[in-house]
Subunit: 408 residues, 2 copies
C-alpha cells in the first residue's frame, strides 16, 4: 500500500528548499548551497527508512532497501531520477521520481516485508546540466559514457571546477562510480510536455527518447559605431546570432519532427550604440530519429558557413552534449502498459521529449519510464503542475510495476 | 600657432586612463571611478592654462580663457565635446575635440594674446549614454532639452541614481545648468565612419546630423522545456527578440538610408534547455530624414504588434532617447569650408552618423562640426585610429575657424 500523504508532503518540503518568493519557483542548480540542502534532506529521509546510503565519486546518491534473503550479491532493481533543478523551477521535475522511489521502499517497510531483490533509489547528480554540461551527467558517468575525471574537471562559465564544488558541498563520495549495476531500471517522471493532458490520458509508457544535440556557438565579429557604420561594412556578431535563432526555429517549423531552441544568448559589449563584437549562444536540437537530427545539425553547419562568409564573422562551435535517440526495453514498456490496464488507468506509448537519466542507464541495463500528465505541458517553470491524484496514480503504478518485476 | 606635440601627448595621456590591457582599449563610462580620473586630469590641464574652471549641476566642465578686454558679459565662443567613453573604447572619440579646444586656448596663451571674446572649452557629461540614457545628456540639459532633476534622477540598470554617482565622484557642481549660453559653438570630432577615408578627403564640414531613436523592448513570454514544448505552444521571448533583430536589419537594408542596430540583448533565465521567459533588447534607429525615421519606428511598431499576436508574447517599449535630425548653421559650415580651402585641405560637406553634443547645443546657438577621417571607419572599438598628421590638421583648422569667427 502506497503512503500517498508522505509522498506529497515530501514533494512539498523538497520544493521549499531553494525557494525564491519573488520569482515564484525554486532554484537548486547542481552543486550550489541550495542543492546541497536538498541532498541533505533526501539523505535524512533515506536514513529514516533505514536504507543503506552511499554516495559515489560523481555525487550520485543511492539509498538501498535490502532484499528479503539478505544476500548482497544480487543486483538491485533501481528506481531513479534527480533532485537538481534549473533556475526558478517547478517542484516535480526529477524530485517526483526520486521521492516516489522512496514511497515504494516505504510501502515495503510499512508492510514489514522485504523485496525479492534489493531496491535502490538513485538521485543522479547534475541531471539538468545548466551549470556544467553535459546534462544527465551523473547517470552518464554511472553508465560509463563519460570518464569520471573528465566530469570532475568540467568548469562552469565562471571557471569553477565541478570536482571542487562537489568537495565543497560534501558530496564527493567514495563509492566507485558505476559500481552499482542494476538488474533493471525504472524512472517515473512528469511528462513536461502537453501530450497526456491534451489526450486526457493518465499514464505514458515511454517507449523511446529523443536524440539531443547541444552546441555552444561563439561568434566573433567587430565592434563598431551603431550610428556611422553602413550595413555592408558591419561584422555584427549580434545580428549573426539572431539569424541563427530564426534559422533553427524555421528549420524546426518546416521539419515538423525536429525541435530547436536557443535558450541562452549573450552579447559583448552589450551596449545600445555599439555593434556587438561577440555573441555566445546555445542551440538545443532534438529529434526522435537520429538521421533527422543529423540533418538538422548539418543544415546548421551549412547556415553557419554561409553566415561566416556573408557577414565576415568567425563562428566557433563547441558540442556541449550529444546523445542519440534511445529505445527503452520492450518487456518493461509492455509491463507498464499491463499494470496500467490492471488499475483501469488509460495509458499510451510515447516518446520522451526531455532527456532523462533513464536514457543513460539504458546503456547498461533494461530500462523504461512512466510519465504522468503535466498541466499545460509546462515545465522548467514555477507553474509546472500535476494534480495530486495523478501524482499518486503514477507512484502507485510504479509500486505495481516494481512488484511485478520482483516476481518476474 | 598650434602646439601639436602637447595635443598629441594629452590625447595619449587621457587615453591611458581606464586602460584595460587585456581588451586593448579604455573604459571611462560616465560617473565611474575611471571617468572621474579622466575629469581630474582634464581639470589639471585647464588649471595649467590658467583657465577659469566651472562645473555645473549635471557635471559639465567648462574652462574659460578670458577675452582681451576682460569684459565678462560677452558670450563666449564655445569649443566642446566629451571625455566619457563606451566600454573598451578608442582614445579619440570626444577627447580629441576637448583637447583640441585646449590646444586652441594654448595657442592664445603661448602667443601672449587674448581673444576678442572668451573661449570656453566644454567637456559635456555623459555623452555616450551607455549607462544612463539618453546619450548627449550633459549638453541636452545645458540646452534646456531635459530638466536637471529628471537627469539627476536617471537610474542605471543596477538602480543606481545618476545624481548620487555625480556626488560620489565629486563633480556635482554649483554652476546652474545652462548658465553659459555661447555666442557660437564648434565641435571637432573624428568621423567614426568610413566616408572621409574612402574618398581620401581630409576634412568634413558637417552640415547635418541624423535623427536618433533609441528604444528598449521588454518581451515577456513563457519559460518552458526546450525538449518537450511543440513550436505552436511556445511563447518564446528569445525567438521574438531575434526576429526583431533580423527585422530591423532587413528594414535598414531595404531602406538604404535608415540604420538599425541591436547592440544589447539579454535573455532570462538564459539557460540552454529553457525557452526564454523574457528578453530585453535595445533598438537604435537613425536616419537623416525625420519622416523616414518615423516610418522605421512605425514599421517596428507594426512588426511588434504582429509578433505579440503570433507568438502570444507581450512586448513593452520604452523610448530611451529620441532626437530629430539637426541642420547645422550654414554660415559656420561655409566658414569651415573656406578655412579648409585656405589651408589647401580637401573638404566635403557631410552628415554625421553619430550623435554629438553639437546637436544639442544647436538648439540654443549657431553650431557646426568639423570631422577628420577615421581609419577603416572604426569607432567604439580600441582600433579606432586617426593619423597624427590628420589630427593636427583638424586642430589647426579649428584654430583657424576660431580666429575667423573672432574677427567676424
Ligand atoms: N527532464 C529534464 O528536464 N531533463 C533535462 C535535460 C533536458 O534538457 O532534457
Ligand atoms: N559620438 C558618439 O559616439 N556619440 C554617442 C552617441 C551615439 O550613439 O551616436
Amino acid at each position: 500500500h502506497l503512503d500517498g500523504d508522505t509522498l506529497l508532503r515530501q514533494i512539498q518540503a523538497l520544493g521549499d528548499i531553494g525557494r525564491d518568493e519573488n520569482l515564484g519557483g525554486r532554484t537548486r542548480i547542481a552543486y550550489t548551497d541550495a542543492e546541497k540542502a536538498g541532498r541533505d534532506q533526501l539523505v535524512r529521509w533515506m536514513q529514516q527508512l533505514d536504507l543503506s546510503v552511499q554516495v559515489d565519486q560523481i555525487g550520485n546518491i543511492f539509498g538501498t532497501l535490502p532484499a528479503a534473503n539478505g544476500s548482497t550479491d544480487v543486483r538491485p532493481l533501481m528506481l531513479g531520477s534527480h533532485i537538481d533543478t534549473v533556475q526558478n523551477a517547478g517542484a516535480l521535475d526529477g524530485c517526483y521520481g526520486v521521492l516516489a522511489g522512496l514511497a515504494v521502499q516505504r510501502a515495503y517497510r510499512q508492510a514489514g516485508q522485504l523485496p525479492a531483490r534489493p531496491i535502490t533509489v538513485a538521485a543522479f547528480s547534475n541531471e539538468e546540466g545548466v551549470r556544467f554540461q553535459p546534462d544527465m551527467m551523473g547517470s552518464l558517468v554511472h553508465a560509463g559514457g563519460l570518464a569520471l575525471q573528465e566530469a570532475l574537471d568540467s568548469r562552469d562559465s565562471d571557471g569553477i571546477r565541478l570536482g571542487d564544488e562537489l568537495q565543497r558541498i560534501g558530496y564527493a563520495g567514495t563509492l566507485a562510480a558505476g559500481s552499482i549495476v542494476p538488474h533493471e531500471y525504472l524512472e517515473l517522471h512528469i511528462e513536461q510536455g502537453p501530450v497526456l493532458e491534451a489526450e486526457g490520458i493518465a499514464i505514458g509508457a515511454v517507449a523511446n527518447l529523443q536524440g539531443i544535440s547541444w552546441q555552444q556557438l561563439t561568434i566573433r565579429g567587430k565592434a563598431n559605431h551603431a550610428g556611422t557604420t553602413p550595413l555592408q561594412l558591419r561584422h555584427d556578431a549580434g545580428w549573426a546570432a539572431a539569424s541563427i535563432v530564426t534559422f533553427v526555429r524555421e528549420w524546426a517549423r518546416q521539419s515538423g519532427s525536429t525541435l530547436a531552441t536557443v535558450g541562452s544568448l549573450r552579447f559583448e559589449p552589450n551596449l545600445i550604440n555599439v555593434i556587438p563584437r561577440q555573441a555566445v549562444l546555445t542551440v538545443d536540437l532534438r529529434d526522435p530519429d537520429e538521421s533527422r537530427l543529423q540533418q538538422a545539425e548539418q543544415a546548421l553547419r551549412e547556415f553557419i558557413a554561409e553566415l561566416e562568409v556573408n557577414e565576415q564573422v568567425s563562428i566557433h562551435c563547441e558540442q556541449l552534449a550529444r546523445f542519440e535517440p534511445v529505445h527503452f526495453t520492450e518487456p518493461l514498456v509492455a509491463e507498464i502498459e499491463r499494470a496500467a490496464r490492471q488499475r483501469g488507468l488509460s495509458c499510451r506509448r510515447m516518446t520522451s521529449g526531455a532527456g532523462h537519466d533513464a536514457q543513460m542507464i539504458a546503456r547498461i541495463t533494461p530500462a523504461a519510464m512512466i510519465f504522468v500528465p503535466s498541466r499545460g505541458g509546462i515545465s522548467h517553470n514555477p507553474r509546472e503542475h500535476t494534480d495530486d491524484a495523478q501524482l499518486l496514480q503514477g507512484a502507485q503504478l510504479l509500486l505495481d510495476v516494481v512488484a511485478r518485476r520482483l516476481l518476474a
